[in-house]
């Protein structure tokens, strides 16, 4: 059984993983339950994490393959008492319903805005294409992404009611 070292949300940890173990299962086993399992097949995006800054569906990544990597989950982006602006925008826009997709969505948003700070709607739609949401109809999620882009660019937040 391989031993691997991961840095998860800035915290370094060493663990033993089965050779065929997926990163999603490793993370959840280590208590990182903010990474959700919606399909385990790489299609829904609920298990999205940032691996060395790249958005990946952790359910189809072998843990042993990411030895030494830096992983960020939604809880690493921000917490309830110190949320990241993206997370705040999701709340303000009403983009969170059941919230099962949300940890993945905010990370997909982070990956997008890191690469394209001012995306247009079609860029947002394409960037979120791998993250399914059955609750919101995406309308408010797209608004949340636009809003966070503005906030991160230092523009005045559009006032919410």
């Amino acid at each position: 059984m391989p031993n691997i070292t991961l840095t998860v949300n800035g915290e370094k940890m060493t663990c033993t993983v089965a050779p065929d173990e997926k990163l999603l299962d490793t993370l959840r086993r280590l208590g990182r339950t903010d990474v959700k399992k919606g399909c385990g097949e790489g299609t829904c995006g609920s298990c999205s994490v940032l691996i060395d800054g790249r958005l990946m569906t952790s359910c189809i990544v072998f843990s042993a393959r990411v030895d030494g990597a830096e992983i960020m989950t939604a809880a690493g982006l921000g917490t309830a008492n110190a949320p990241h602006p993206i997370q705040t925008s999701f709340v303000k826009a009403g983009a969170v319903q059941c919230g099962f997709c949300t940890p993945g969505m905010v990370l997909a948003t982070k990956a997008l805005l890191d690469a394209v700070p001012k995306p247009d709607v079609s860029q947002i739609k394409m960037a979120l294409d791998g993250n399914m949401c059955r609750c919101t109809g995406y309308v408010k999620i797209i608004e949340a992404v636009q809003d966070s882009a503005r906030v991160l660019a230092g523009e005045n937040e559009v006032p919410h009611e």
Binding site: T33, D34, V35, K36, K37, G38, C39, G40, E41, T43, C44, S46, T73, A74, A75, L77, G78, T79, A80, P83, Q87, T88, F90, V91, K92, A93, G94, A95, V96, Q97, C98, G99, F100, C101, T102, P103, V106, I124, K125, M126, L128, D129, G130, N131, M132, C133, R134, C135, T136, G137, Y138, V139, K140, I141, I142, H160, E161
Partner: protein, 774 residues
């Protein structure tokens, strides 16, 4: 009070109370807290659509290291029940068993394993040897009641526990009829008559969190079940029944839920981990994979719908004959009530002079139907609204005008309200609030109806555009049946705990209920901490279904808050030394007429520690007397590629009257989500089976649900009215939106290319076939 202008919390888009915790991953869903020593369960499912289990041998499976328990039908009490999470007595047939020696669809339960890891559980399930005797299956509901058809429920226990038609020997799971006037006479008086057959297909909810349940026996010997459910109290009752445990020794906890849309109004998994936990003395987690979610959970009941409808040239609607054959699959979960709602939620919308309605639910050997957002209305609005367009065209009237002339208005009733309830008689009611006229007007303007409708002749090229519309109503709770209750207490800092049995499954109902309480109490919603739901801690509520939470549980919360309010005023009057009549509660202060005031924190402290100590609290329950419908007018603009058959929705407008939107942003979110689910259902989602009844597209790759990239321009417009019977004028909002896309898009396709698509989903192939190009 009859408008929202002087409300401080209700009618405002306060942030959803649990949103930040969800967005930062801090909220716990069922599978997010696994106790030490938890075992993992796996269900072995049937590869055959219809078979008897001749022999089951678990010896080899039991020998696998790490396997702790295996159960087959021989190991569990044989208790006929329904998995439908409905109130007692359930109007669904008792035709299910925890495990049985017969399987009735591919995906049906055969046996269950508990093991140290999910991998071992899976391997053990595969190692169970089963000898099946195959029986002839039924896949087409048209064959179910034919002479000599195989009998799917031949077991003696299957029965209906309420007096309604049920005949298992003919595979009849339920039947309902209702008549108004004389349909034949009505059609004879018509100038034009339309006769058509429609097919509405089987599809799935696809909540992002699949079904999951964890069970353990606690230190006191009580069974605790943490489960992703919309109906914790029904889970408690039905699991206790199945296991023959006393209800008082079962506790059901609902943590955060990753969406349900009706699929979790079903007691689908809980008995299996419960039995395994009792047998092993260890916690047991059963989590459906996405594949199992597709094959073995619940679906939208498919229907074959025959219509005859008549109108006179002046737009009088003389008769509507609605004949539905519904396929409930292998079990009759919601088999009666869904088809009842196909009538009760659609027939009152227009003033038909004569109506005949017949709904027949039959068993087949296909996956099981269940509750799904829209609940029968989704199916039956498709034919109704397409046929209205056709009648309008035949009498040369604008489609909107025909609807405007005939739709129900405030102050009016419908004989259908009384005739059709949840399997039994309904409740007479007159419409309190109705904003449908405004919805039509606003929606038509937003889509550009006048400019865009009927412009097919002016278009050239292979790609044509068209617009279509429809009108809708739903209900709000099941009157005289549904019960909601709430408990509220004040803390010494002036904050409140609100405990409700109402089940937030992601809709935001915790927030909406907090707003109702906060409005009554004169505090901001942020001072409310809401807990839902736990059968040990929160009062009874039927759960999240039938569009009931805001309207029903909301009123229970308002009542409880009024009780607490009276106590707050009492304590304040003691502190301020003035009569209670002189006190007003504003922004967490009690204000006396003489200008003196005291803060809620001081009132809280005083009540708990200082003098005449008592807990400021309120407890109340509520039963509704009516089910006021929300209304909606929906408009679709589509593009049809006449060469490929591809249909694209460009713009979709949903104007909705939900009374007062307690939280407008959350209400919009409900509409947008429902509408997109409906569009996805109308265009792409569909179960595909192989010839032996096995689901072929049991993953999210081949079962296509819309993603952000597919999103058309969706406009959700709230059209406020004031429902006198609802909390602060509110009605329901969450279901109605999903009913529109089938008819609105079909009507838009007709406007674009002149063919009526009457079979859903509207795939490229069906469109090309209708165009005569295939």
């Amino acid at each position: 009070m009859s408008d929202v202008s002087d409300l401080k919390v209700v009618g405002h888009s306060v942030d959803k109370l649990d949103a930040i915790a969800l967005a930062t991953g801090g909220e716990k869903f069922t599978a997010d807290e696994i106790p030490p020593r938890t075992l993992y369960a796996r269900i072995l499912t049937s590869p055959w659509a219809h078979a008897r289990i001749r022999k089951i041998d678990t010896t080899a499976a039991m020998k696998i290291k790490g396997v702790r328990s295996i159960i087959t039908w021989q190991d569990v009490p044989r208790v006929a029940h329904t998995t439908a999470g409905q109130g007692f007595p359930e109007p669904s047939p008792y035709d299910s068993f925890t495990l049985d020696d017969k399987v009735r669809y591919v995906g049906d339960r055969v046996a269950a394993v508990a093991a140290d890891t999910p991998e071992i559980a899976r391997a053990a399930a595969e190692a169970i040897e089963v000898e099946y005797e195959q029986l002839p299956p039924i896949f087409d509901p048209r064959d179910s009641m034919k002479e000599g058809a195989p009998v799917i429920h031949d077991e003696p226990e299957a029965r209906m526990i309420i007096p309604v038609p049920y005949d298992k020997s003919r595979n009849l799971a339920a039947q309902v009829t209702a008549n108004v006037g004389d349909i034949e006479q009505g059609l004879a008086q018509a100038d034009v008559v339309v006769e058509r057959e429609f097919e509405v297909h089987q599809a799935q909810h696809c909540p992002m969190e699949p079904h999951v349940a964890l069970a353990y026996v606690d230190g006191r010997g009580r069974l605790v079940i943490r489960t992703s459910t919309q109906v914790p109290y029904h889970v408690r009752r039905i699991v206790a029944e199945r296991l023959q445990w006393p209800i008082g020794k079962v506790r059901v906890i609902k943590p955060r839920i990753g969406g349900g849309f009706g699929s979790k109004q079903e007691v689908l998994l809980e008995d299996i981990p419960a039995v395994l936990a009792i047998r092993t003395g260890r916690p047991v987690l059963l989590e459906y994979t996405r594949g199992e979610e597709f094959a073995s959970s619940r679906t939208r009941h498919p229907q074959i719908i025959k219509i005859r409808a008549g109108a006179r040239k002046d737009g009088t609607l003389t008769g509507y004959d609605l004949d539905i054959l519904m396929n409930t699959g292998a079990y009759g979960s919601h088999a009666l009530t869904v088809v009842c709602n196909s009538g009760s939620k659609t027939l009152p919308l227009y003033r038909w002079q004569n109506i005949r309605f017949r709904g027949t639910s039959v068993y087949t050997n296909l996956p099981v139907g269940g509750a799904y957002r829209g609940y029968g209305a989704t199916q039956a609005y498709f034919p109704l609204e397409v046929v209205l367009d056709e009648l309008a065209e035949k009498i040369g009237m604008d489609a909107i005008e025909l609807r405007q002339r005939n739709h129900i208005r405030s102050g009016e009733g419908s004989p259908i309200f009384q005739a059709l309830g949840e399997g039994t008689e309904g409740v007479a009611q007159t419409i309190g609030s109705c904003g449908l006229a405004e919805c039509i007007e606003i929606g038509a303007r937003e889509i550009g109806w006048k400019e865009k409708r009927g412009k097919a002749a002016l278009q050239t090229g292979p790609i044509r555009r068209g617009v279509g519309m429809c009108c809708l109503m739903q209900g709000s709770s099941i009157p005289h049946v549904d019960l909601g209750a709430a408990y509220l207490k004040m803390n010494e800092d002036g904050s409140f705990n609100l405990l409700v049995g109402a089940t937030d499954l992601g809709t935001g109902s915790d927030t909406v209920l907090a707003q109702v309480a906060a409005e009554v109490l004169g505090v901001p919603a942020s001072m409310m901490t809401v807990y839902s739901s736990d059968t040990d801690l929160t009062p009874f509520d039927v759960g999240a279904y039938a569009s009931s939470t805001t309207y029903l549980s909301g009123e229970a919360v308002a009542k409880a808050a009024r009780e607490a309010r009276a106590m707050i005023i009492e304590v304040a009057s003691e502190i301020l030394g003035c009569p209670v009549e002189d006190i007003e509660l504003v922004n967490a202060y009690a204000l006396a007429r003489n200008g003196n005031k005291v803060q809620f924190s001081e009132i809280g402290r005083h009540s708990l520690y200082v003098k005449n100590q008592r807990q400021i609290q309120g407890a109340a329950s509520h039963v509704t007397r009516k089910s006021p419908p929300p209304f909606s007018a929906q408009f679709a603009e589509v593009e049809v590629d006449t060469e490929t058959g591809q249909v694209r929705v460009l713009k979709y407008v949903a104007a909705v009257d939900c009374g007062t939107a307690i939280n407008p942003k959350l209400a919009e979110g409900q509409i947008q989500g429902a509408v997109l689910n409906g569009i996805s259902y109308a265009l792409t989602e569909e179960f595909v089976f192989d010839p032996r009844g096995r689901l072929l597209n049991n993953d999210l790759n081949y079962y296509k649900i819309f993603t952000a990239a597919d999103l058309p321009d969706i406009r959700a417009i709230l059209v406020p009215t004031w429902e006198p019977s609802g909390p602060f004028g509110a009605k329901s909002v969450s279901e109605i939106g999903i009913n529109g896309p089938l008819p609105a898009i079909s009507n838009a396709i007709y406007d674009a290319v002149g063919v009526r698509i009457t079979r859903a989903p509207f795939t490229a192939e069906r469109v090309l076939r209708a165009l005569g190009r295939l």
